[in-house]
């Protein structure tokens, strides 16, 4: 029983340190303007959150092309946040305007 608790604690500590390490870059801003994601490519550390803010007066969405996440329609000034827990290469698009693309590399 006591051994189980120790393992559980160790796991918790590991999780805390993993998410705390890149705290300086925990949040990255992306804007949507003139039907483009700005910037169009990004490299971030695992655990980082990206905040997309729509600056167009048309609506946009933010979606992962492989289907991991998808925002509702964002009106002008609205934001959507997603935290990238897993490393990998993500292709981001607007489901309303498929010509809009962004590549995010999570390390």
């Amino acid at each position: 029983m006591s051994r189980f608790v120790v393992v559980g604690l160790a796991g918790l500590l590991a999780a805390c340190s993993a998410s705390a390490a890149p705290s300086a870059a925990a949040q990255v801003e992306v804007t949507i303007e003139n039907y483009h994601f700005v910037p169009a490519t990004l490299k971030i550390a695992a655990g980082t959150s990206i905040v997309w803010t729509n600056k167009d007066d048309d609506a946009h969405t933010v979606m992962d092309a492989s289907g991991a996440f998808r925002s509702d329609a964002l009106d002008e000034g609205q934001s959507y946040t997603y935290t990238f827990a897993k490393p990998g290469r993500y292709r981001i698009a607007c489901s309303m305007h498929p010509q809009m693309m962004e590549t995010i590399v999570v390390q």
Partner: protein, 316 residues
């Protein structure tokens, strides 16, 4: 033509200059004959008197919920559009809405749109979704209200007055970096659906995004439409109607007329003539001239369809 020619042609050009001319395209035997309405009808007669009873009216891109500078009152301009339809000398049986009924796909926007559209004095309202109507998971809001006819597929066909209509959806199958997409399942269905029609049946195909390449850098086209267009070539009269780009662009290819409708909400720039395709802000007095609807009439001899565009200003 008569001695009126010169004056009426000048009038017609004047109308075009203001962007409010009604232009009639009579499709006869695959040859498109544009007729200046002002030249064809004495000014004292109402424009629509030229037509037989309208077969249907196309409205598009009502964007209920939009309230930015380009048009803070989209309900008002939709109401004005509905007044024009209800005020026609002869009521069309059908209205076709080619999508972007709402702006942000919210339940209250759909409710408001339905409430406004219910004032149309027509027998049937047919719709296809635009990308603004399908941003919620599974396009649940759209299908809850408009899915019944298509068994929640969105695409379906029907016949009216001897004309075969195909409603297609090109905003739901996502292709990264691409154009609108019909998808394999819908394409197979559409091609099969056409095999049962005789070549003399007039065909009307409608979808939200253009079914032909208008301006690809802005995604104004449908990437996988070619097999369907190939099947449509054998028909004597094919009319392909779309919305999405909030302006009229027309192309004729053989017996096929491709035509995009104006929005009832706000105009958009000509492809490539702005940083992006966002809502075009124009002076209030100009806005009415850039919004409108399309009336489609059946011509019996030869059996074909005629398109007439009316702006909200033109109907004054």
């Amino acid at each position: 033509m008569t001695h009126h020619d010169k004056r009426t042609r000048r009038d017609a050009l004047k109308c075009l200059g203001f962007g409010s001319a009604g232009t009639l395209f009579a499709l006869a035997g695959g040859v498109l004959t544009p007729i200046d309405l002002a030249a064809a009808i004495p000014p004292s007669e109402p424009r629509l008197a030229l037509f037989h009873k309208p077969l249907f009216v196309q409205i598009s891109d009502t964007h209920i919920g939009f309230s930015k500078d380009a048009n803070p009152d989209v309900a008002g301009t939709l109401n004005r559009t509905i007044d024009i339809v209800n005020g026609m000398a002869e009521q069309p049986a059908l209205v076709i809405h080619t999508g972007d009924i709402t702006h942000l796909c919210k339940a209250e926007e759909f409710d408001r749109a339905q409430q406004l559209l219910s004032r149309l004095r027509v027998t049937e309202l047919h719709t296809v979704p635009g990308e603004h109507d399908t941003t919620d998971p599974g396009a649940a809001q759209y299908f809850a209200r408009f899915g019944k006819t298509s068994h929640n597929k969105g695409y379906y066909s029907f016949d009216h007055a001897g004309v075969h209509f195909m409603a297609l959806v090109n905003v739901m199958e996502f292709k990264n970096g691409g154009l609108g997409t019909l998808g394999e399942q819908q394409l197979a269905w559409a091609i099969e659906d056409l095999t049962h029609r005789s070549a003399s049946t007039p065909i009307v195909v409608f979808a939200h995004m253009p079914l032909w390449s208008v301006y690809e850098p802005w995604g104004w086209g449908t990437g996988d439409v070619a097999p369907l267009l190939a099947q449509l070539k054998r028909f004597g009269s094919v009319t392909v109607l779309n919305g999405h780009i909030h302006q009229i662009v027309q192309k004729v290819e053989g017996n096929m007329t491709f035509h995009t409708a104006r929005s009832t909400a706000f105009p958009q720039p000509v492809g490539g003539e702005a940083a992006g395709p966002g809502p075009l802000k124009v002076p209030a007095e100009r806005l009415q001239q850039m919004l409108g609807l399309t009336t489609v009439s059946l011509i019996e001899h030869p059996r074909s369809l005629a398109l007439n565009d009316t702006t909200l200003a033109g109907a004054e």
